[in-house]
């Protein structure tokens, strides 16, 4: 099985040097692009390969590139390396393990859209990635793979590494642009999209790290090869992660469309002894829960969408039967609440309300109508109701937990309001796993 993204990554995770990268065919894709292809051909190749964005939304990358106006003038490529969602750690591996792969991808993207400047917007806490990227960038500059007349072509590029000051919202591509400009990291109005009015008002393509890392391989091996890697209509391979109470939590490169069961049972080794699978967030913290009945679904954009969730970043969080889903949801909602930029009302004022209700429920102050209220809040924070995708993402684990794990919420509700009025303690029934752990 071909694993283009991770094939160079060493078992000890030491970074691949420029020499090693080139020995494995590195920068051949770039060479092919700048010496043998017009920019439009490079765009067409990526389009034909059907590469879809790996940052969560799954927008076709070639289409995104083709929306950049052809006219000359300053344009930018910006790489979204602000990987900050709880449970997501895929881009980190690519940047720490094989930084030149990213640099080559950026160079091809820049050539394709006519940019001579690119930025990597890196999560501030990724200090190791920052060091390794800086080092790789210097290697590339020294080898004239960046700078003027790259590989002898009429193509110039410099790449700047920018480390973020640390806000989740910077992962939203337009908030990222504002942050890069030194402004408050609030998302921007769309339209206009960054392709027409992006960084400093200029045409800009913002791509996720993993997305860009696919590009050198597509250029080198061709679109047909790339589509052939997949087990579904979505092309290529994808980094899939699993965290939670599985035997071997980790990250694997697998064909797009790999069934969830293979991921959890084969790659992650199944559940730890004594724990049963209750559900999972297939695409990370901002996707809807799915259930064991969904295990045979293919991990690709459309299959998960049809099941009511999303592929997201492809990094799954597993829920076992000894972990309370209400507490998981509360944990996530606290994160999203804290990271709301404060711009639009449903996110700014809706998320703290969700947290307030969940805390109340867990503290025994819940009321039956609270669950309806949570459902309504999830609706109010839904897609199109807010300014950006942060709150809709936050609503996904909440709304699906209410749908699939309603009894877990209800078990905290006092049976009789009079009970709580008298100050008597309400005994919360134990979860299956909790009972087992307690020896009952």
């Amino acid at each position: 099985m071909d694993k283009p993204l991770t094939r160079n990554i060493k078992p000890d995770l030491a970074p691949v040097t420029l020499a090693e990268y080139r020995r494995s065919g590195g920068y051949e894709g770039l060479k092919k692009a700048v010496t043998a292809m017009a920019p439009a051909e490079a765009v067409a190749t990526v389009k034909e390969a059907n590469l879809r964005g790996r940052g969560g939304a799954g927008f076709p990358t070639g289409v995104k590139w083709s929306l950049v106006p052809q006219a000359a003038g300053q344009k930018y490529v910006v790489v979204n390396a602000d990987e900050m969602e709880p449970g997501t750690f895929k881009d980190r591996l690519l940047m720490e393990g094989d930084p030149h792969q990213l640099i080559e991808g950026i160079a091809i993207a820049a050539y394709a859209i006519g940019a001579d400047t690119a930025y990597i917007f890196l999560r501030g806490e990724y200090t190791l990635a920052a060091r390794r990227l800086e080092q790789a960038l210097q290697e590339a500059r020294d080898a004239s793979l960046l700078g003027r007349n790259i590989l002898g072509a009429e193509f110039h590029l410099d790449i700047h590494l920018h480390t973020s000051a640390g806000r989740y919202i910077c992962g939203e591509e337009t908030a990222l642009l504002n942050s890069l400009e030194g402004k408050r990291a609030n998302p921007r109005t769309k339209p206009p999209y960054p392709q027409t009015s992006g960084l400093w008002g200029r045409p800009t393509v913002v791509n996720n790290v993993e997305t860009v890392c696919n590009v050198p391989h597509i250029l080198r091996e061709g679109a047909d090869w790339y589509r052939g890697l997949s087990r579904s209509q979505d092309a290529g391979t994808k980094l899939f992660g699993v965290s939670g109470r599985v035997k071997k939590p980790g990250l694997w490169e697998l064909p797009m469309g790999t069934p969830i069961r293979e991921l959890i049972e084969d790659c992650a080794g199944g559940m730890q002894e004594g724990y049963t699978l209750r559900g999972f967030l297939p695409g990370g913290a901002s996707t809807d829960f799915l259930l064991p009945e969904h295990l045979d679904l293919a991990m690709d954009f459309d299959s998960l969408q049809r099941a009511g969730s999303r592929l997201g970043t492809g990094t799954m969080i597993v829920l076992d039967d000894a972990t309370c889903p209400v507490r998981i949801v509360l944990n996530l909602e606290r994160f999203f609440t804290q990271e709301s930029c404060g711009w639009c009302t449903p996110c700014r004022d809706g998320l703290p309300w969700v947290v307030e209700i969940l805390e109340g429920i867990l503290a025994g102050r819940g009321r039956p109508e609270d669950l309806d209220r949570l459902e309504k809040l999830a609706w109010l924070m839904g897609p199109g109701h807010t300014f950006c995708a942060l709150a809709p993402g936050a609503a996904e684990p909440l709304q699906s937990a209410l749908k699939y794990f309603r009894e877990d919420f209800e078990r905290y509700l006092p049976v009789s309001p009079a009970l709580s009025l008298r100050g008597e303690e309400h005994r919360v029934p134990l979860l299956e796993g909790e009972r087992r752990a307690a020896g009952g």
Binding site: R167, I169, L177, N178, R184, R188, T189, P191, P192, T196, S197, W200, G201, T337, Q338, E339, S340, C341, G342, W343, C344, T345, P346, R348, D349, G350, L351, P352, W353, E356, G360, R373, K376, L380, G384, H385, T386, F387
Partner: protein, 666 residues
């Protein structure tokens, strides 16, 4: 035009506007917070949700924010769709989760946009049971209160203060539901238009502190349509009165003049109306007398050899009444000698040259501006705010090229970044507009005039040149000329600020030279048909926009009545033409030096003064006649754009004071 369907009703509306503005213009109730007609749309508050349908067959529709939705032909939406109503009520409920229930003690109560919108959406029962987030308030200076707990985070304040008014010291801090709108630390707000925050804020975060000192509810105030008396721009205001005390001034919308905003001087500069220095009682040689006795004494004085001195801060009516009392030949405008000359020169240019006086709104549309010798922020503040908007036209054009509508405010700013239309500023000292100017010229008035003449010469070789101009200045003149020549709506701003006739002439020359460059344009119907001031002027010239800033609220109106200065009065009395003088609301010590005034007053046998507040002239009056301020009388003022505007009395003058025009008319 576009045909749109809202709640089943078909309307013909302008295409390209946003749906919220369109709905409001149609008189449809749709709640909103972050949108403001002068600030555009940003889509932050999510309050103006409606359900939009793709086409005739779409029965489900989707929720959209009206403020972010462009109006296109065939658009179909429902404001009353249950989903939209529920969403809007819920957004209000969100905004109210931390809002204090202090309406009974809140100064915004009764004129609170948040109250109105809450009632409109029908949110009545509170479901949130948690604690409210709280903030610490700041001291923002003598004009504005700060009560951050009431904040609903609509972002209007910072968008107005920073983006519109160019302020730097108010910003948004922190994130999530802890966003804080204030200064980095306590301190007086620096911007000279800060008072508008009290009106821009949809609830009681920013309120008028001067009003707090003698607060009453809105419904207990009596208002009258008024015009600001503090400069010549003629901003429309609504003074509010109760129990004989002027409590506050708020903006009164005039689309061609002040729009939605006033300057702080206009808004907060009303204390003199309630001041201790007011004259309340007629007096004769320092002794109180009855109105009848005062009127009789004035009539006696006026029967002799009497001169009347008018006032640029009194209405046309009051000046006319005085002129009628003493006779036209004995009526003197009463400007200082220098000012009279300057204003006469301005009137001469305005009457005979191909010049158009733009409205403040038109100033905002200018795409290249030359300011010659004026610090507009000091002499005509609201016009300076308009110039700040004019500078944005380049950004709006850039956005238009990208098909971004002008009302999509944040997107326009992000696309155009700092792009500015050219504003050139020549003044003797630093001004607040320097920061948005493409180039700033510092020099003495004579240097500024020379720069202006050089610009005119660059535009038209017929205009006299300035031979010995320094190379750098000559290049600047060329740059300015090129920018004005290539502009579609060039504007020149000048005035009496530098007390320089040359500057006024230079500004006129620039306008004339610009007009000569476009002889092919046909003259509009209202083009001046007076004889041209110099050779080469053709009747087909299109008038050029030129703003002359004059100092007082009725300077232009008074100058239209009479052009003679206090210097002329002094000469007339010196020659023995009169021994009695009636002064209307004019402190002569502000029009001439004290020695000259003292000498003059020594020669006058009888001095009658009509005045509302004590000053050095009034204190020497034989007969002192108390008048009303702008708030207590009515009349007409002519603004710097030549607009005659009527203001009305909001309360009767206290004590024995009367309308200023009533004394001479009696």
């Amino acid at each position: 035009m576009a045909k749109i369907t809202l709640d089943g009703q078909v309307y013909d509306v302008d295409a390209g506007e946003n749906l919220l503005k369109t709905c409001l213009s149609l008189g449809l109730d749709l709640p909103y917070f972050c949108w403001h007609p002068a600030l555009g749309s940003v889509g932050a508050c999510r309050q103006c949700a409606v359900v939009q349908y793709k086409d005739a067959s779409d029965s489900k529709g989707r929720l959209v924010m009206a403020c972010m939705t462009p109006v296109t032909d065939g658009l179909r939406a429902e404001l009353e769709a249950p989903e939209a109503r529920e969403f809007r009520a819920s957004v209000i409920e969100f905004l109210m989760t931390s809002h204090p229930h202090d309406c009974p003690v809140c100064e915004e109560g009764g004129e609170c946009h948040l109250q109105d919108m809450t009632v409109m959406t029908g949110h009545t029962v509170r479901h949130y049971r948690g604690r409210k987030r709280t903030h610490r308030n700041q001291y923002l200076g003598p004009f504005l209160n700060h009560e951050m707990n009431r904040c609903i985070a609509c972002y209007r304040c910072v968008r107005y203060y920073r983006d519109y008014a160019g302020g730097q010291d108010l910003d948004v801090f922190a994130i999530r539901n802890d966003v804080y709108f204030g200064r980095f630390e306590d301190g007086v707000l620096e911007n000279e238009f800060s008072g508008n925050l009290a009106e821009v804020c949809p609830t009681g975060v920013f309120t008028d502190k001067t009003f707090s000192a003698h607060y009453v509810r809105k419904w207990d105030l009596r208002y009258a349509p008024s015009v600001c008396a503090h400069c010549a721009v003629g901003c429309n205001t609504s003074p509010g009165e109760r129990l004989g005390v002027l409590r506050r001034i708020i903006n009164r919308y005039h689309g061609e003049v002040n729009g939605y905003f006033l300057c702080d001087r206009g808004r907060f500069g009303y204390g003199f109306v309630n001041g201790e220095e007011r004259i309340r009682q007629p007096s004769l040689r320092g002794e109180p007398v009855s109105i009848e006795a005062a009127v009789a004494h004035l009539a006696g004085l006026a029967s002799g050899r009497t001169i009347g001195i008018g006032s640029p801060r009194a209405s046309l009516e009051a000046n006319f009444a005085l002129r009628a009392l003493v006779g036209a030949e004995n009526f003197y405008a009463g400007l200082s000698r220098a000012e009279a000359e300057l204003v006469a020169a301005i009137l001469d240019v305005l009457r005979r040259w191909p010049i158009r006086l733009p409205t403040v709104r038109e100033v905002e549309r200018a795409d290249a501006v030359l300011v010659l010798g004026e610090d507009a922020t000091s002499t005509a503040p609201r016009l300076a705010l308009a110039l700040r908007q004019a500078v944005r036209n380049q950004a709006l054009e850039l956005a238009q090229e990208l098909k971004i509508p002008g009302w999509l405010d944040a997107a326009v700013r992000e696309a155009a970044q700092g792009a500015k239309s050219p504003l050139f500023l020549a003044s003797p000292a630093a001004t607040r507009l320097d920061e948005v100017a493409e180039a700033v010229y510092r020099g003495a008035p004579e240097d500024i005039a020379r720069l202006g003449f050089a610009v005119a010469h660059c535009l038209s070789p017929e205009a006299p040149g300035v031979p010995d101009l320094a190379g750098e200045d000559a290049r600047l003149a060329e740059t300015i000329a090129a920018a004005l020549a290539s502009a579609r709506r060039p504007l020149i701003v000048s005035g009496t600020g530098c007390q320089s006739l040359e500057i006024i002439q230079a500004a006129a020359n620039v306008a004339l030279a610009l007009a000569k460059r476009n002889p092919e344009r046909s003259a509009p119907a209202d083009a001046p048909d007076q004889s041209p001031p110099s050779a080469g002027l053709t009747e087909t010239m299109k008038p050029v926009d030129l703003c002359y800033l004059v100092p007082e609220c009725n300077t232009l109106g008074l100058a239209l009545m009479d052009g003679r200065s206090v210097g002329d009065v002094f000469a007339a009395v010196q020659e023995g033409a009169a021994d009695t003088v009636v002064v209307l609301e004019n402190d002569l010590y502000r029009r001439a030096d004290a020695v000259a005034v003292d000498h003059f007053l020594g020669q006058v046998k009888h001095l009658a003064v009509i005045e509302h507040t004590f000053n050095a002239t009034a204190e020497q009056a034989e007969l002192l006649l108390p008048s009303g301020t702008f708030a207590e009388t009515e009349g007409t003022l002519v603004s710097l754009e030549g607009r005659a505007q009527r203001f009305y009395s909001v309360m009767p003058p206290a004590g024995e004071a009367r309308d200023n025009w009533r004394w001479p008319a009696a």
